[in-house]
Point group: C3
Chain length 466, copies 3
Amino acid sequence: MGLHPDRLLPIEPEARDVARRLFSGVEMLPILSPHGHTEPSWYAENGRFPDPAALFVVPDHYIFRMLFSQGVPLEALGVPRTDGGAVETDGRRIWRLFAEHYHLFRGAPSRLWFEHSLQTVFGIEERLTADNADALYDRIAEALGRDDMRPRALYERFRIEAIATTDSALDDLRHHDAVRASGWRGRVLPTYRPDAVVDPERPGFQDALARFFELTGETETWAGYLAGHRTRRAYFKARGATATDHGHPSARTADLPAADCERLFEAVRSGRSNPAENELFRAQMLTEMARMSREDGLVMQIHPGSVRNHNAPLFARFGFDKGADIPSRTDYVEALRPLLAAVGNDPSVTVIVFTLDETSYSRELAPLAGHYPALRLGPAWWFFDSPEGMRRFRETTTETAGFYNTVGFNDDTRAFLSIPARHDMARRVDCAFLARLVCDGRLDEDEAHEVAHDLAYRLAKNAYRL
Amino acid sequence: MGLHPDRLLPIEPEARDVARRLFSGVEMLPILSPHGHTEPSWYAENGRFPDPAALFVVPDHYIFRMLFSQGVPLEALGVPRTDGGAVETDGRRIWRLFAEHYHLFRGAPSRLWFEHSLQTVFGIEERLTADNADALYDRIAEALGRDDMRPRALYERFRIEAIATTDSALDDLRHHDAVRASGWRGRVLPTYRPDAVVDPERPGFQDALARFFELTGETETWAGYLAGHRTRRAYFKARGATATDHGHPSARTADLPAADCERLFEAVRSGRSNPAENELFRAQMLTEMARMSREDGLVMQIHPGSVRNHNAPLFARFGFDKGADIPSRTDYVEALRPLLAAVGNDPSVTVIVFTLDETSYSRELAPLAGHYPALRLGPAWWFFDSPEGMRRFRETTTETAGFYNTVGFNDDTRAFLSIPARHDMARRVDCAFLARLVCDGRLDEDEAHEVAHDLAYRLAKNAYRL
Amino acid sequence: MGLHPDRLLPIEPEARDVARRLFSGVEMLPILSPHGHTEPSWYAENGRFPDPAALFVVPDHYIFRMLFSQGVPLEALGVPRTDGGAVETDGRRIWRLFAEHYHLFRGAPSRLWFEHSLQTVFGIEERLTADNADALYDRIAEALGRDDMRPRALYERFRIEAIATTDSALDDLRHHDAVRASGWRGRVLPTYRPDAVVDPERPGFQDALARFFELTGETETWAGYLAGHRTRRAYFKARGATATDHGHPSARTADLPAADCERLFEAVRSGRSNPAENELFRAQMLTEMARMSREDGLVMQIHPGSVRNHNAPLFARFGFDKGADIPSRTDYVEALRPLLAAVGNDPSVTVIVFTLDETSYSRELAPLAGHYPALRLGPAWWFFDSPEGMRRFRETTTETAGFYNTVGFNDDTRAFLSIPARHDMARRVDCAFLARLVCDGRLDEDEAHEVAHDLAYRLAKNAYRL
């Protein structure tokens, strides 16, 4: 038992040897985490993580979605209900339920992340079973009480060099201020995520917009709205932000005449907009954000293509982010054209595009990124943050876009303990891919070492301007 | 010559060894065939199979489509014309034509199925050629005259534990009754396939509907129509059916108010419906069938996405199922939403979805099945019932849906002799996939043995309630 | 350094051995190049190729698109501006810029083509670097001055047996006449490419149409227009053409009544057609061309799915073919139905379809080609003319369409020196694929040798009627 030392490397001995050499050169590199969802308060307050279930099961949609898919109610897993109704609160019982269904995770990346955390953070090499569930629970719970398990200690132990959080445009970033004021040497950066004041279809949009204008002191016009974004971006940038992030239903962008923008804004602001106008407003705003990126140097990230809250009964009961976000077919060729016409030929701009539609890699995204100076491809995302997903990403993008129009790895996680596991996985899969190129004569080994280093560290550092 | 003992296992020696061990544990397991198209009369009457051409060529669209694609007329292959016009009737000449074009099947799964049958059923290890065509024809023809080549003997020799047929909603299931009355221990189950009375665009729909009402004695209203389905489902269930099957052009589902359903039914019944109404009626009926499955416990299978009878001139001459059914792009995310809102969160319901659009595996189907308790993924289907197709199925679904939201293998065939070949292929490809997970450290070998057994036997048994 | 002798063959030793044996049987076969874009004037005039930059960088969109994507202006690479504005003219400086960015091509097929040319044509085994850029420039420039580097000498040295060019319907083919008149034994064939007079949305369409009628002496009616195509096709055929080629935005075909065609033609001819009519006209013309192919025996090639000139600012500055052509989602099932209804069942017709949308291989194109006698699949095209692209082509088409509904390899290039490199790559990748089939028991080695020969030579010879 325990982690296989050559896990995810090629099985063929010659290629495995090459991959081992490549991996040994990048395994211990610092971690750059330029896109993720950890809580800034963890670093500011440096409190203890709660019990094993609250750490590994309750907040992790990769885990509870799989259990739910096999008939385990979310209530039994302690997932809070929006109506405050009763759910399981006994961490040990939740943990046992997880252990009893542990076979469901065979072949899933979440299993590998979990076992990497168990072994490297808690020294546990046994496989979780119904039989040892209580014993492992106790070992983890005990460890979580130690000071070397607090967020700042783990940040250092994980060799994190910088980590970005994702923050609402309305956030005052007080936790980020607290981290900086504390004198701790960790580097925790905010990311400007304005979806709540950009997407008219998000619940609470009108209220968020009102607060946005209150906060920025601008007039409620299109010009005032844009000025407000500039103000807030500057506020984020002053606190270390190097990037913005945009989670839209589609990748559609637009570049309308000013008068149309004004009319569109007024429809949206007043709550009288229809779905087509909402989509158009989001589309226009991506182009506006891209132009602001050209002004202030913040890197722009676009995460499109998730149909959120697909399961209406579940959404009514448990709210957002409960594993019912489903990828959908996503077009980029026509969708990105207006934005690219505006900033795509400017090498000083960086727009990083992600996808949940793997068919777009070879057909659309690699050809676009292999042409436009401003465009870069984000790593395999979400359901594809996995060995097979990462392999397909390289196999379908490298020949057209090369390695240097990609931006290294993002862990994109709110599961703090899984961060080293995810970077370890990405480094292994990339080294495995490179080893195959070396062994079948497509790349020399000295070059592969350089590329491995680029993929693990330098590309993220450069693309995110860290 | 002869079958390679390690065929379809990994080439790399270490992985091949693991795969051999896994496969040896499942090779001899009984066959469950919960979805297929063999004739119930074969088991009822236990007659002899006809000559080699009538067994292997004339009825097998995998075979004659490939010959046709290279210019061999279907008439020369003995495929009957709808107008009763002359076609080749000499089995030996048809067989020779097949032999002369045998090279066309290089790399195709139908070649592997055929050779598996030749060797394991007829003891023939030679490759078919123009030179040995006559000799092999004679050997097979002679064997077909023996009693141990009759359907019931083969059923037993193939270690089939249960086999489902696919039967029209209007069928009286007399052959199934005869099998049960005969005292033979074989288990032959009907499957309720109501397409003929559900799809207004099928030729003969109005007549089928009239017979449906006659058969069930219900009034020709929406309520009577639904009641009729309940009656027929109960009739099938009483004769052993555990499942229904639905072959629709798309995966679209709907859940309309009762008044709309009544209006829609009246339009369809009276023959005045337009294409949009036809599509909506089929969509509504999938949701109705899902609700009936919740009532009566029949497992629901949805097979969408085939554009039937693409070749109009060929269809006019030879009718249905002549190799001119072409897959098309199929959406599931929005299409299945109404049905899933109705029954998707109920773990007591099982809806098994198939696809002919492989892009939907990682993007749509695995995320949906990895979330909704009622949803399971059917195996790689039709054109993808093949080594590469099965491999891609596992590679693109396992990381998100795991193994346990899939349902094992279906042979889906009307070619009785190919059943063991197809299960053999599926078991080998799954063991090969598992061996790779073991060798690169993603799964322990003891777990892989358990999963191999699940994929070969237990998942089908549980999913289809056998 | 230098090319790996086993490059692109399987890494696993047993499979590599088989692949080596297969490859040794096809490595030295003559090259058939039935679809490409070399200049007929090269063969007619047999002049010298210019300097290394003008040979390898300036005209090659695979090269300059990658440099541009990383911020290198096209002006600095010597790409001519449409306004005649100043661009770099010093070949040595362009070459240095290429050398400084050579790492961008790691993992890209263009790197392999380039290094194959360097080594086999110029005897250079060093990797290009900023340090050796000048020295290599000098060696290549010197070699280009030698007579054995002229086009005809290279044609012979490359063992080319026949090469097709692509020529406008308006071309007088004077260079082809000159080649034939010269007594040189090389076989250079024109290809009829009528897009300029078929696509109403091409700049200059009205002028081209006027010249077409002038050239053919036909009346400006639908009937005259079709007669004009027949005349021009005969002109091409008399000069050795065996094929036509059609580069359309989509694969849509139509087969309208004559009166509709006449109205449509009049709208298009008079410049009053709208986008829907333009699309319909192109669609109709594909079916007309297919019918003419049935009459005159020219093989028809359809290259759909490229969104041309995606980057409007770049197009304004540099014009066509500057790396901003982006693939898009392409449908075939409904799109090709009218054409296939007209000629698809005729084995005497050959329609070769290409795609830039890999999702269509297994879902649409292989099932269509595995059924219709007239349909064949072109090789992996453009962005997919690469090791991974070719591998995916075989993996997703072979099981359904077999090898014999494909047509061998096309280099599709205007980069003359890369022709042997591209055929070498295709032969290696196909032998690697075949070796895997042999090693996992799907094909016998004697058959694999025959298939390797077919893929490298015989299929192209037959499909293109060479």
